[in-house]
Amino acid sequence: MTSEVQAARPSAVTPDRLEHSAAALRRRASRLKIVLGSVLAGVVVVPILLANVLPLPDPLEQDLSQRRLPPFTDGHLFGTDQLGRDLLSRILHGGQVSLTIGVLAVLVSGVVGVVAGAAAGYYGRWVDAVVSRLLEAQLSVPLLLLLLLVVALFGPSITVITLVIAFAQWPEPARLTRAMVLVEREKPYVAAARVLGLRRAGVLVRHVVPNIVNQVVVVMLLLLAQAVLLESALSFLGAGVERPHPTWGRIIADGQGYITTSWWLVTLTGLVIVLLVVGVNLLGDGLRDRVSRSRGGKGEPQ
């Protein structure tokens, strides 16, 4: 229909049609998710990273004459809590705890998951049997109870909470990696590398894993979102990093009793969590759409 098309017969594929094709719509949707996700996550992450530099009151400084001030009073943007501490400062410092634990937990669970999943998928036989049994068993474990128990056992330090969350999360990268390696190991390049004399472990590490690592890394973002949620749930239940460190779950648990008179304690803290987690999830989802498009969009693990 357009004049640029020089063919004798006008093509049915017009720019207008391309614009509205499913592929173009999908691409726009994933771009929208990536942009929106980055903005939402950035709005929370950047202030958290800058918390020590920003002109904020100390998160632990109490002032009993300034208890439970509503937002926007006396320079307290988010108001103050039941002990007169600045809520914004507490939320940002709590965010540092959450993000540290979240990032570390995802790194640990990612490494463990990829190693276990790749070994199970590539070597098969008894390695696969052991890993698959473990993955299955974890489904029937009363997980939260076990996590609370372990935190009670070893004390609520950042290390313990990180490891506990990593334990809860390793099945996801493991299952995904195993499934992808199972497909990958049947491809001709694996046989070719073997014929060229590379040992099995070498093929796995140098060729198979690099081919799948992109998709696993994208899933890590989604795991980070879950890790942040799990950390806040643990600290809500009293298994958070010990006082006086502010943590998101504990700010909400402590503020629960004042919800009718001081709504901001629970509401604003929760909104910050939601913003961050929605942002990270959107970003991860958008990136996954992009990465897994070539694989027919079937990359989503459960």
């Binding site: 009363p142 109870l145 009670a152």
Partner: protein, 311 residues
């Protein structure tokens, strides 16, 4: 079939045994003296020693374990320290509440998530699709304890429609079930969407359409029937994990179920109660998963129990 079933049950029992043994060891490694928790701050050293003897805590850990296993086989899980009743009875008393809550939540989830997932899959790559996609991402990004507190404040305190806590009337079930369902709907509807979209794009649907089958039949009798197994599996797994205690939501709503019991048992170092809870909930969770597996042949005639369907 019978052989498969026997094997599965044996495997499940072994898993439960391993879980229970792990927890047995873990609670005994944990710091904190259960005798001190029972005796209270005024107990003397002699009192504490007497309490420990009464609880069987003076024996060595292997002896305690042997005692625990022999008791287990006789259905005796010891007395709960804090309730002064057989631990098993305490757990079984709470169990109906958790089953009720989990059942209501999973029913609500299925009723909302399946139509939502099917609807958006029928409209793949439209604004509806994107909207639902972003909406479900938001749904799975909210901490349950926070949504719980917010719903509670809005619908039980500010506008008192529902009771704030506990389970005295059936309307008390609404808020906790909705809180759980908010997250679960997000997860399940995404799965339904994905499965439906894949099936609707499959050649057999195109063939059926070209033969003149109605869209409604294509959606439900063909595509949905073929999506039902993964969806049922996911619903079953979710339900099973809820039986392990919807801990956070039960704590927020002071729901008298397993979840709030667990938190209390951990606080008071109530070993028998922790063990009884773990035993009962893992048995139930594994039982539900087994049941779901056995339902497959009813949904898909190609599936024989014990054999995976090849696709």
């Amino acid at each position: 079939m019978a052989r498969y079933l026997a094997l599965r049950i044996a495997q499940s029992l072994l898993t439960v045994f391993l879980i229970v043994s792990t927890v047995f060891v873990l609670v005994r490694l944990a710091p904190g003296d259960p005798a001190a928790a029972v005796g209270g701050p005024l107990a003397t050293t002699e009192d504490l020693q007497a309490i420990r003897e009464e609880m069987g805590l003076v024996d060595s850990v292997p002896q305690q374990y042997w005692h625990f296993i022999t008791g287990l086989l006789q259905g005796d899980l010891g007395m709960s320290y804090s309730f002064r009743e057989p631990a098993l009875d305490v757990v079984l008393e709470r169990l109906p509440y958790t089953i009720t809550l989990a059942g209501a939540a999973i029913l609500l989830t299925a009723l909302v998530a399946i139509p939502l997932g099917v609807f958006t899959a029928r409209r793949a790559n439209t604004g509806w699709d994107l909207g639902a996609n972003v909406g479900t991402i938001a749904g799975q990004s909210m901490p349950e304890f926070w949504t719980g507190i917010m719903l509670l404040t809005l619908l039980a305190v500010v506008v008192p429609i529902f009771p704030a806590s506990g389970f005295t009337t059936w309307s008390g079930l609404v808020l906790p079930a909705v809180t759980i369902a908010l997250l679960q709907v997000a997860l399940i509807s995404r799965l339904v969407h994905r499965e439906m979209a894949a099936n609707l794009a499959a050649p057999y649907v195109t063939v059926a359409r070209s033969r003149g089958s109605a869209e409604r039949a294509l959606t439900w009798r063909y595509a949905f029937a073929n999506s039902s197994i993964p969806v049922l599996t996911a619903l079953g797994t979710r339900f099973a994990s809820m039986l392990n205690g919807v801990v956070v939501v039960e704590v927020v709503f002071a729901w008298p179920g397993i979840g709030s019991l667990v938190v209390r048992a951990l606080e008071t170092r109530d070993y028998p109660l922790i063990q009884a809870t773990v035993l009962v909930t893992s048995l139930l969770a594994i039982g539900v998963q087994l049941l779901v597996d056995l339902l497959y042949p009813l949904l898909d005639p190609r599936v024989r129990v014990g054999k995976a369907v090849s696709r």
